[in-house]
């Protein structure tokens, strides 16, 4: 999960960064789970409440029935006229709380035609029970304020005994009932919270597990970009495997485009340089002012072509994705070639590299840079050229680098000449090649890779060139 410190600012995506996939998934899943659990909680509590109310009312109904049966108890005078049946004053104590003063449990009996109470439970101790009017209905259930100011649930029932209609009301304080509901709500809330947290954790784990292939894809892509792998691992789930395949195709096409550009540059070089050789040799072999002019101008053309070809090549060379090469075989090959080219001079080229090292870039570019340096050294050396490679870390950027040093025992350069030789990106009009060492090309190429070229004087007596280039991080 590291970001590249050297990523150019222009390559960063524009606009606000989008929320991560994992956050989106977890957020949405958590949101709907919370809503679902909350709805379930509300539903459960209301279900419990209505069930409790029904049970409460059922209890009150039993008391009403008991009261009625006590009022019309006619056991002794069974043969008397039912119409003239007298109502017996009930002394109902079906529950001890009807006897306790202001216990919260009350009953009253009144005539339907009059609001004044005929009989009442002992618990009322003479206070009235403010029942709402029942009107013409058979029964009603309602909440009222009891004599002590508490909420009381009251059930009223109309009955007719003889010619008279009575209204019987039984009430009970709801304090315990609501406490029950509240307790139940608390339990439900607690349970659902625990379930919710568990769910969110499960969602989080599921998302992480589900998105793992994406993380793998990203790591694989990053490895390709850093040159640690040549292509993306395509062993991925069906949904994103095509993406990896497409990316691999893109990498291949990127390589092909660069390769084609390079071939074009090569063809252009070949196409121009051969006729230029002909013109300049023809002119040099002839005499007269025309021949002189042609020779002079063809020399200028030659320098210009060389200059532009180098720039074009470098432009084509910029960052092929996912390329690296071992330094040792490239340098060994070069040194072998130099040995053949400079065999007349009898120069000894010593090569020393500690351990395996990979250059994070094109082998052709490493060959070009080190080739120029070693060629220069061989050209100027008296008898000895030392080539060395060591790994080093760049403290400033924390990147893995390596240093290639090329030293010779030739005449060397003065500090001013050294400064001039590595000046990067020489301007076009300065067609006169400074020292003729081609070192500015090396410096330019090294800079493309985020490296440097430094010239010092060598302990051997001549020039010491140090090329610092990015290395592949060791496994």
């Amino acid at each position: 999960m590291t970001t590249e410190p050297d990523a150019p600012a222009g390559e960063k995506s524009s606009g606000k960064p989008q929320r991560s996939l994992a956050t989106r998934l977890v957020f949405v899943a958590a949101l709907w789970s919370t809503i679902a659990l909350a709805l379930a909680g509300v539903f459960l509590v209301s279900l419990y409440q209505s069930a409790s109310e029904r049970a409460f009312d059922a209890q009150l109904k039993i008391h009403i029935k008991a009261l009625i049966s006590e009022m019309i108890e006619t056991g002794s005078n069974a043969d008397s006229d039912v119409a003239n049946q007298a109502v017996k004053a009930p002394a109902y104590r079906g529950d001890p709380r009807f006897s306790l003063p202001l216990s919260g449990w009350y009953w009253t009996v009144r005539r339907a035609s009059s609001p004044s109470i005929l009989y009442a439970s002992e618990s009322l101790v003479g206070d009235p029970l403010n029942t709402p009017p029942i009107a013409d209905r058979e029964s009603s259930a309602s909440f009222i304020t009891g004599p002590t100011g508490d909420e009381v649930r009251v059930l009223q029932q109309r009955i007719s005994i003889g010619d008279e209609a009575y209204v019987i009301a039984v009430g009970a304080a709801t304090a315990g009932f609501w406490a029950d509901i509240a307790e139940f709500s608390r339990m439900v809330t607690l349970t659902l919270c625990i379930v919710g947290l568990g769910l969110i954790l499960a969602i989080f784990l599921q998302v992480r597990f589900g998105l793992k292939p994406l993380t793998r894809l990203r790591a694989s892509l990053s490895a390709v970009r850093l040159g640690e792998a040549e292509r993306i691992d395509e062993a991925l789930p069906g949904e994103i495997a095509p993406l990896a395949v497409e990316l691999n195709a893109l990498i291949v096409s990127n390589k092909e485009i660069v390769e084609r550009a390079r071939t074009h540059v090569g063809n252009l070089a070949h196409g121009l340089k051969t006729p230029l050789s002909v013109i300049s040799n023809e002119a040099r072999a002839s005499e007269g002012p025309l021949a002189e002019k042609v020779a002079e101008q063809s020399a200028i053309m030659s320098t210009q072509i060389q200059h532009h070809l180098e720039r074009a090549r470098m432009a084509a060379q910029r960052r092929v994705i996912g390329v690296s090469c071992e330094t040792e075989p490239v340098l060994a090959r070069l040194i072998r070639a130099m040995g053949k080219i400079y065999q007349d001079k009898g120069i000894k080229v010593a090569f020393d590299q500690a351990g395996d090292l990979r250059f994070r870039g094109e082998s052709q570019d490493l060959e070009e840079m080190s080739g120029n340096l070693i060629d220069n050294a061989c050209k100027w050396a008296a008898s000895r050229v030392d080539v060395g490679v060591v790994r080093k870390s760049d403290q400033a950027t924390n990147r893995e680098m390596f240093a290639l040093t090329v030293e010779d025992d030739g005449p060397g350069l003065s500090p001013e000449q050294r400064a001039e030789a590595v000046k990067r990106g020489r301007r076009l009009d300065e067609t006169v090649p400074g020292t003729g060492l081609g070192l500015s090309i090396v410096a330019d190429l090294a800079a493309l890779y985020g490296g440097t070229l430094q010239l010092d004087s060598s302990a051997l007596g001549g020039l010491k060139a140090t090329l610092v280039l990015p290395a592949l991080t060791p496994e």
Partner: protein, 222 residues
């Protein structure tokens, strides 16, 4: 000394041939890879100037084929692709040196001279035997310090014998290296030139080994 030039650009080919001929070499030329490969494979050359970008068969393949078939003559490659990777690929394929285009003819002549000299085992551009001294760079011959004038055939003969001094050189070998491919090999002109050369540099310099050929200088081990 016989040189093969393989270059597809007719102007450059002509320039190379005439410059080499002026420098005292016998030159054959080819304008495509297949022809070049055939000549190099069948004729004994002392050096080859080989362009890498050739039609029909590219220069690198021509060179690889020669080396695979045991052809060891020194080869100078001409290349417009002057990246080190191209040069190293050429050297790895068996080239002995390279010249990047565009080049000056003097450069090519100097490299060819060095290759021929090196192949014969000489370190210096001056070949001497007794009182005879040949300056390869200037193409000048002196005997006891005084310059002598040689025709181009005589110069080639002396140069070849000096490059291989101490060795017995057969008449066939001389003919092969002193004349181009169109020359009538059966003629006995070699003997005529040896006779003329003896008159100019001293009759004891070139020894006739009966039935074998000629030798210049003391016998060498090989």
């Amino acid at each position: 000394m016989r040189i093969l030039v393989v270059e597809d650009d007719s102007d450059l080919n002509r320039q190379l041939v005439s410059a080499l001929e002026e420098a005292g070499y016998v030159v054959d030329s080819a304008s495509d890879g297949e022809e070049g490969h055939f000549l190099g494979d069948t004729e004994p050359y002392d050096a080859v100037v080989l362009d890498l970008g050739l039609p029909t068969l590219d220069g690198l393949s021509v060179l690889e084929n020669w080396r695979r078939d045991g052809r060891t003559m020194p080869v100078l490659i001409l290349t417009a692709r002057d990246r080190w990777s191209d040069k190293v690929a050429g050297i790895d394929a068996g080239a002995d040196d390279y010249v990047a285009k565009p080049f000056h003819m003097e450069e090519v002549l100097a490299r060819v001279r060095a290759l021929v000299r090196r192949a014969a085992g000489h370190a210096s551009n001056e070949l001497t035997s007794g009182s005879v001294r040949l300056d390869l760079r200037a193409g000048r011959v002196t005997v006891d310090g005084s310059p002598i004038k040689l025709t181009s055939h005589e110069y080639r003969l002396l140069s070849y014998l000096l490059h291989h001094q101490g060795k017995v050189i057969s008449r066939t070998e001389l003919t092969e290296h002193l004349y181009d491919q169109d020359f009538d090999r059966d003629s006995n002109t070699v003997e005529v030139f040896v006779g003329r050369l003896r008159k100019k540099i001293g009759s004891d310099m070139i020894e006739t080994i009966r039935g074998l050929g000629y030798r210049l200088g003391a016998a060498s081990d090989d």
